[in-house]
């Protein structure tokens, strides 16, 4: 199975912009690419997960400046419905070239809206750059609060960064404390909808980026589409990234492949199990819906 999707190249990279890497989750790939695309007129705005009204609760925004992009940098491990703005960006915001970042499922939504625009008039041709972030699973805001405040015993307000990696959910506070929760406790908090998700590395994005596979502070980047390729080449030519060939970094692509395979295998089982979830009166199986099959 092609668990990493189609791509032209995979690179380990990090932004050369210190303002960005101070705030970004990993190598600052997403924020740097959007800032570059804005400056070059490739996009005239980007839908990102901006700050919300509660700590660590994102609110989708249309960013049209680098400052707004910086305010939205970093990962919030909870749902940010970025697609909410996809149509509005082309309406009251008046954008002609829309950038959007999102998890694999959000990239799927973007592509589906482009090919099957149901109630999505004039959206398809205005998607100018779709950047994906890797995603193993997501959490509701209440779940995130329970993890941070109960399991890790930290106040949401004090947290500077959250990170998932090396089998742990890690919380860093502004005053220097570090708390962790083992990832095996995470499963009961996962959004149930994530259990049927068969995409780990944002296969449908123009460019996707994640932390797995590269050293701390670096990102693993898949350049996938023609458009993504052109943007990436431009950003490299403008010296916006330090790069290393993927086969020269540790833990490297093997780990990405391994985790992707695990996610997809586990979730494919969940998808299959839905078929025989229930019982009819005559004893035969009665299933739950499978969105990957035509009913």
């Amino acid at each position: 199975m092609d668990v990493l999707g189609n791509y032209k190249s995979v690179i380990s990279a990090r932004s050369t912009d210190k303002d960005i890497t101070k705030k970004s989750q990993d190598g600052g790939i997403i924020t740097t690419l959007f800032a570059y695309a804005l400056e070059e007129g490739i996009i005239d705005g980007a839908i990102v997960a901006g700050p919300g009204d509660e700590p660590w609760k994102p609110e989708p925004v249309v960013a049209t400046t680098k400052a707004e992009l910086l305010a939205a940098a970093g990962t919030r491990y909870t749902i940010s419905p970025n697609l909410n703005l996809i149509k509005e960006a082309t309406r009251s915001y008046g954008l002609d070239r829309v950038g959007i970042v999102g998890t694999p499922c959000q990239m799927q939504a973007v592509r589906k809206a482009q090919l099957y625009p149901i109630g999505m008039r004039d959206v398809d041709d205005k998607i100018a750059l779709a950047l994906g972030i890797f995603c193993m699973e997501n959490l509701s805001y209440q779940a995130l609060e329970a993890i941070v405040e109960d399991h890790c015993n930290q106040k949401m307000e004090s947290v500077k960064k959250m990170d998932i990696g090396k089998g742990k959910f890690t919380v860093y506070t502004e005053r220097g404390a570090v708390s962790q929760m083992p990832l095996k406790l995470l499963s009961k908090y996962v959004q149930p909808g994530c259990n049927v998700c068969l995409d780990y590395v944002a296969n449908l994005a123009d460019i996707s980026s994640g932390s797995v596979g590269s050293p701390d502070g670096w990102s693993t980047v898949f350049v996938r589409s023609m458009k993504g390729n052109a943007v990436w080449d431009g950003a490299i030519a403008a010296d916006l990234f330090e790069t290393k060939p993927m086969d020269q970094v540790k833990p490297g692509l093997d780990l990405v492949t391994k985790l992707a395979t695990e996610k997809i295998t586990k979730n494919q089982k969940n998808v299959d199990a839905r078929k025989t979830f229930g019982l009819k009166a005559d004893g035969t199986a009665k299933g739950l819906r499978n969105p990957y099959e035509t009913p």
């Binding site: 049209t64 509005e88 082309t90 309406r91 009251s92 915001y93 008046g94 008039r121 004039d122």
Partner: protein, 455 residues
Amino acid sequence: MSKVVEISPTTRHEGHSKLVMQVNDDGIVERGDWLSITPVRGIEKLAIGKTMEQVPKIASRVCGICPIAHTLAGVEAMEASIGCEIPEDAKLLRYILQCANRTHSHALHNILSLPDMHIPGTDVKINPFTKEEPVRSAALRIQRLREIAQTIGEIVGGEAIHPSNPRVGGCYKNITPRAKAKIYDLAKEGRLLAQEHMEFMISVFRDFQTRGTTEVGGVEVEIPDDLGYHRQGYMATAPMYGSSSLDANPTWFPERFTEVRPWDWYMGEVEISEADPNYPIGGTTPVGNKAWPQMEACTGVPLYDGQPIEVGPRARLVQFKNYDEKGAMGLQIARQMEFPDTMYGILDAVDALNTSGPVVADKIPQGDGSLGWAANEAPRGTDVHLARVKDGRVQYYSLLVPTTWNFPTCSRALTGAPWRLAEVIMRAYDPCVSCATHMLVIDEDKRLVAQKLIQ
């Protein structure tokens, strides 16, 4: 001896209607009935009990060419009933939306009218789909004008067809400075196109006015000088936008409105006794069939001061600019003359718009059942919605839409015309038959509803 001829369905307009005409031996209409045969959808009845937010969104779906009119008249009728004043910038957004929709609608109507017309100075009828000049560049201009208008409508209205932004109390969203700049750019381009296009269209209609004859289905038909003349009056509430019962000086008067049933106004049962199988395309109704306009008409007959009246572009120009050209071509020309003002209207309004101003009223009353009305000058004329709202729910809702006003007037305007040109007259009204088809407002005892309204 008069004969009866029927064109059913009529074409190149919105919706489903037919023409039943008594004609003399020369094929000249003595009495014509133009009537809607679109199934009644009953928006006004199903609105009762629904929320004031929902009903204008349903009313929008009356028609997809002028959903702006029904959305705005609907929302503003609710606002009039509950007594809600909306912020200035919300008004400006609605105004821009209104202008944009008028451009789009008029340009669309050009496509419907052009096939009746000739390339000026020739006998060649215009086929809007031809690649030949000068038609191709006119068609491209029409499409670009529509694209500009729909894009502007989409920005301020949220959606070009069934605008999502207007709400009771104003609008959901203001636009960004970038969107404002985009509207400027589009309207500046549109202004030049609109001017050029108006001149082209007027030359086409003027050419028809000066022609002696035109060919319809292989028959050379004489064009009378007074094609489509009528002696009915006009009704318009504003050159561009409209009026409502919240205004200090409203320009529409519910007490002057009455409505009669089709039964009282249309012809009784008749048998078709004249037919032309070559009438394009598919022929007229064959001889021997029956028609019964009284029973078949799906609209009421609204009267203003006891008479059918004309609404639409000419009515607006007559009322506000002393326009005086009569007949079907006079109406077509008036419509073209509205093009430039739509783009100027957008430029002025977007200039005045403060993109950081509030667009929703601070307080939105829930209503005590008072009657409110709002008239919107839809592309096709005055569209009046009347509503009573109590505790946020609609108790009463009624639509008096432009084409409903024009049905009886246009029917009168058929008299004296060769029946083969009846559709040319009808198309001059830019009919929107879906809009026109609604429940009767009159009650069982034929009591005038307007009297009930103002009680």
